[in-house]
């Protein structure tokens, strides 16, 4: 995968990104490259700068310094709407659905299908309902039972799927960011969510996944990018690295001295809290 992708220009490049909030340096000179069809995992301890990097990419914060290039073209992302227009969308950790809208209404929120009735734009509720149901079922393999129930009544995994559906409905989506897709889920739903993410892979889209779960990261990712204290600690090809090495990069143990926090955390466990 990475060998093929390496021959083309990256889908996305972030170069020399820095961000400070007042005196606090959240990111310092971070580079990121993402290729089409690739899943890049971003890992790091709490406060390492993962979320800040993603928020810069989705127009929530402006970067203090640095350049973003999409398909080789430099772009400026001042707000959320611009990022969506550029085809960059994110599924957030807090599962930001509106509780008292149904799944289709959530999927199409802000992006409704309308038809004109006597020149007045009217929501095409039936059309959105059937298209959203098809999308959830065929693209993500999720069935909700009652499609008209409010998001309030859905399980964590179903909500996550609806949130992903919301990003996918924009047919222009090129880069999809998944922020802790399994953090709020039980073991069974985690397994299904990993299936959903796996289905998304291998298309033209580039995926970025933030996760604390190294197990998920190793199962799904093509490359792993490690952030530590707002700086890039390293990027590794998943097939050529080990949990030991990634853990070492996360906590800052040198390769010569693998003892320390990394060894105590254990190879299979979750990192951070």
């Amino acid at each position: 995968m990475s060998a093929v992708a390496g021959q083309r220009a990256p889908l996305l490049e972030m170069l020399g990104i820095s961000k400070h909030f007042g005196g606090l340096q959240a990111l310092k000179n971070v580079d990121l490259a993402l290729h089409a069809g690739e899943l890049l995992a971003i890992v790091g301890d709490n406060g390492a700068g993962k979320s800040t990097l993603i928020k810069i990419l989705t127009g929530v914060y402006p970067a203090s310094e640095g350049v973003i290039k999409l398909e080789g073209q430099q772009v400026h992302i001042p707000d959320r709407r611009t990022s969506i227009q550029l085809g960059i969308d994110a599924v957030y950790q807090n599962l930001a659905l509106v509780d008292y809208l149904t799944a289709p209404q959530n999927v199409y929120l802000g992006n409704e299908i309308k038809r004109k009735v006597f020149g007045i734009p009217v929501l095409d509720n039936g059309g959105m309902r059937s298209k959203a149901a098809t999308l959830l079922r065929e693209r993500l393999g999720i069935s909700l039972g009652n499609i008209d129930q409010n998001a309030f009544n859905l399980s964590g995994g179903q909500r996550q799927a609806v949130a992903i559906g919301r990003a996918l409905i924009q047919e222009t989506v090129k880069i999809l960011i998944l922020d802790e897709p399994t953090a709020a889920l039980g073991p069974e739903e985690t397994r299904r969510m990993l299936e959903v993410v796996h289905r998304l892979k291998g298309k033209e889209m580039g995926l970025i996944m933030i996760s604390h779960q190294l197990e998920d990261v190793f199962e799904l990712s093509d490359r792993i990018m490690v952030l530590r204290n707002g700086m890039l600690a390293g990027v590794r090809t998943t097939a050529e690295t080990s949990r030991q090495e990634i853990l070492g990069l996360i906590v800052g143990a040198t390769e010569a001295d693998p003892r320390g926090p990394a060894a105590r955390a254990g190879a299979g466990g979750a990192v951070g809290s």
């Binding site: 008292y100 809208l101 929120l109 509720n125 399980s155």
Partner: protein, 332 residues
């Protein structure tokens, strides 16, 4: 509801019963009050009295439609009584003092209403003053302006169609025009709520403001629209009110805001936003107008109307809490 299954069957539609369970409580109260009144006071169900109830409810329906959207969007408007008064006074002055054509004056009433709503909306979204404080303050401002302009006068005897809009009847002198206006406004409200981005975004803004923003919805602009719609409705209510008595003074429509908010909440719209129902608001306005009328007919003092209105609000909201808790327990 267990884990989603890849091979699970077709999606079911939600049964209508579940969708409307919320308005069963106030609907039951309407039936109970109806039965009690039928037994104790036959005058209650005379056609003239039913007309009076519905004519009263129609004005609150006009206000309640817009208020349902404002509250759903996590707003509140305490200034609507003053907006109605100011709109009506401006209209009256245009007709009586400035000899302007009646249709232009009617349009002015609506323009004043929308302008007041725009002011509310801009204070809330640009100056970032909370909705409650903004409209509490502008309530005083709009009322004060109305008092200054009317200078204590009662303006009366307006040309048609103003009296017709307040108390005229059509279809062989049977159906009051205000009731028709109320029904049309209700239908417009249902349409806005279900079939327009304005209604959908109100639910999103009230339910999860951050999510609405992340979806690219212009939250502030939508909030301004909510208050402009509310202002237009208050202007229309001011016209209907003027027509009903064929007279207006600057102190009319006092207490309309709280009555309307009560009706909306009794109907099942959640005061903190995110959930609402137009049909519930219809039930709420009819219930409150029925109770007010029943107490008048029973010759109870006005003060008892206040007691009754308070009790109904508490009982309705308690009912919703009960349904909510039970529904949650049942589905998990």
């Amino acid at each position: 509801m267990s884990v989603p299954s890849v091979a699970a069957g077709r999606e079911r539609a939600q049964p209508a019963f579940e969708r409307y369970i919320n308005i069963m409580g106030p609907l039951a109260m309407i039936v109970v009050i109806g039965v009690v009144m039928a037994i104790f006071e036959p005058r209650f169900f005379r056609i003239t009295n039913v007309r009076i109830i519905l004519q009263d409810a129609a004005i609150y329906m006009v206000l309640g439609m817009a208020m349902t959207i404002v509250i759903t969007g996590a707003g509140i408007d305490l200034s609507i009584g003053s907006i109605s008064a100011l709109s009506a006074i401006v209209m009256a002055i245009f007709i009586k003092d400035l000899n302007v054509g009646v249709y232009l004056a009617l349009a002015m009433a609506l323009v004043v209403g929308v302008a007041c709503g725009l002011v509310n909306g801009l204070i809330i979204t640009v100056l970032r003053v909370p909705d409650l404080i903004t409209t509490l303050s502008t309530d005083l401002v709009f009322r004060g302006l109305a008092l200054v302009m009317a200078a204590g006068a009662v303006l009366q005897r307006f040309p048609e169609p103003i009296p017709a809009l307040g108390r005229g009847r059509v279809f062989g002198d049977t159906i009051p025009i205000p009731i028709i206006i109320g029904v049309v406004v209700l239908l417009v409200g249902v349409f806005i709520y279900r079939f327009t981005p304005l209604g959908r975004y109100a639910i999103a803004i009230g339910g999860n403001r951050e999510s609405a923003m992340l979806s690219g919805i212009n939250v502030r602009r939508n909030k301004v629209y909510h208050y402009m719609l509310m202002g237009a409705a208050a202007g229309l209510a001011g016209i209907m009110l003027t027509g009903r008595l064929n007279a207006v003074q600057a102190t009319v429509a006092e207490g309309f805001a709280l009555h309307t908010i009560a009706a909306v909440v009794v109907g099942g719209t959640v005061l903190f936003g995110g959930r609402g129902t137009m049909l519930g608001t219809l039930v709420g306005v009819v219930l409150l107008s029925m109770v007010t009328n029943a107490l008048v007919i029973l010759r109870l003092a006005f003060f008892w109307q206040l007691v009754a209105a308070g009790l109904i609000i508490v009982l309705s909201v308690a009912f919703y809490s009960y349904v909510e808790r039970r529904g949650k327990g049942g589905s998990e």
